[in-house]
């Protein structure tokens, strides 16, 4: 098995991002992995929030005061974008697993639809939290 390339050996390189024209299916694949890693961190934050809640009002207050800063709110917003994207694109993957949606036209269209959904859905969720809840 070939190990990592030694410096100085000339081997063909895989196409680098800098010289690769971005297209919807490529972007949607990269975003799926990026949001997946982001949601890993989000899930750890959820665990921290739950443990703080179980520890009592003091720990809960500390975590909530961190969440209610601008950086905290940006993290929450990015998490909602990440969940929306990973969910919608995950369902797109399930459609592929069934065997549909592989033609370039449909795959490009569904990629754009998923990206659009990820931008719009968080606005709906934030609307719910602002106007839909019980005080």
């Amino acid at each position: 098995m070939a190990g990592p390339a030694k410096p100085g050996t000339s081997r063909p390189l895989s196409p680098h991002l800098q010289v690769w024209r971005w297209h919807p299916t490529m972007a949607s694949s990269i975003f799926h992995r990026a949001t997946g890693v982001g949601l890993y961190l989000t899930a750890l934050c959820l665990a921290i929030w739950l443990v703080a809640l179980a520890m009592g009002p003091e720990a809960y207050g500390l975590v909530m005061s961190l969440l209610n800063t601008w950086p905290g709110l940006i993290v929450v917003y990015l998490a909602s974008v990440g969940i929306s994207y990973h969910l919608a694109n995950g369902i797109r993957h399930m459609v592929w697993d069934i065997g549909h949606g592989f033609s370039p036209k449909v795959a490009d269209g569904s990629a754009m639809a998923v990206i659009l959904f990820a931008l719009i859905a968080p606005i709906g969720v934030w609307g719910l939290s602002m106007f839909g809840g019980q005080g």
């Binding site: 190990g3 809640l53 179980a54 969940i83 399930m94 809840g133 019980q134």
Partner: protein, 133 residues
């Protein structure tokens, strides 16, 4: 018996029947990733909408929401599916980008420990809130 099989390959009939391939694990990882994804496609929207409607509204209010048995059960299911799914997902990311054997092994081990540790912590917290401290 030695050498190529009658079908001209080095794969044994037993190996072909087992269908485990070069990684010796067959389709297990792939199927587990999909099964947990199906669960999360239901649980994640439920939690996001519930969180938007009911959570982050003060200590007593949040405790009360989680103490509801239906919410606690849903939350534990979410934690189990999510932490299993993300352990599988990050495993693929590590395998893709890290080729140094020791580093890769340590990261894979760390991935498993972090996922299990956080899942146990979260579930314990939910149970403690549910049953009262």
């Amino acid at each position: 018996m030695s050498g190529p099989n009658s079908n001209g390959t080095l794969r044994t009939p037993l190996g072909r029947v087992r269908g485990h391939g070069a990684a010796h694990a067959g389709t297990h990882h792939f199927m587990a990733q999909r099964a947990s994804a199906v669960a999360l496609a239901v649980l994640a929207p439920w939690f996001v909408i519930s969180a938007a409607l009911f959570l982050g509204r003060g200590y007593d209010s949040d405790i009360g929401w989680i103490a509801n048995p239906l919410n606690a059960i849903g939350l534990i299911l979410l934690i189990l599916a999510a932490f299993y799914h993300m352990r599988l997902g990050l495993q693929v990311v590590i395998e893709d980008y890290i080729s140094v054997p020791l580093t890769k092994t340590l990261l894979l081990l760390g991935n498993t420990f972090v996922a299990f540790g956080a899942a146990v912590a979260a579930i314990f917290a939910i149970l403690r809130i549910s049953f009262g401290s």
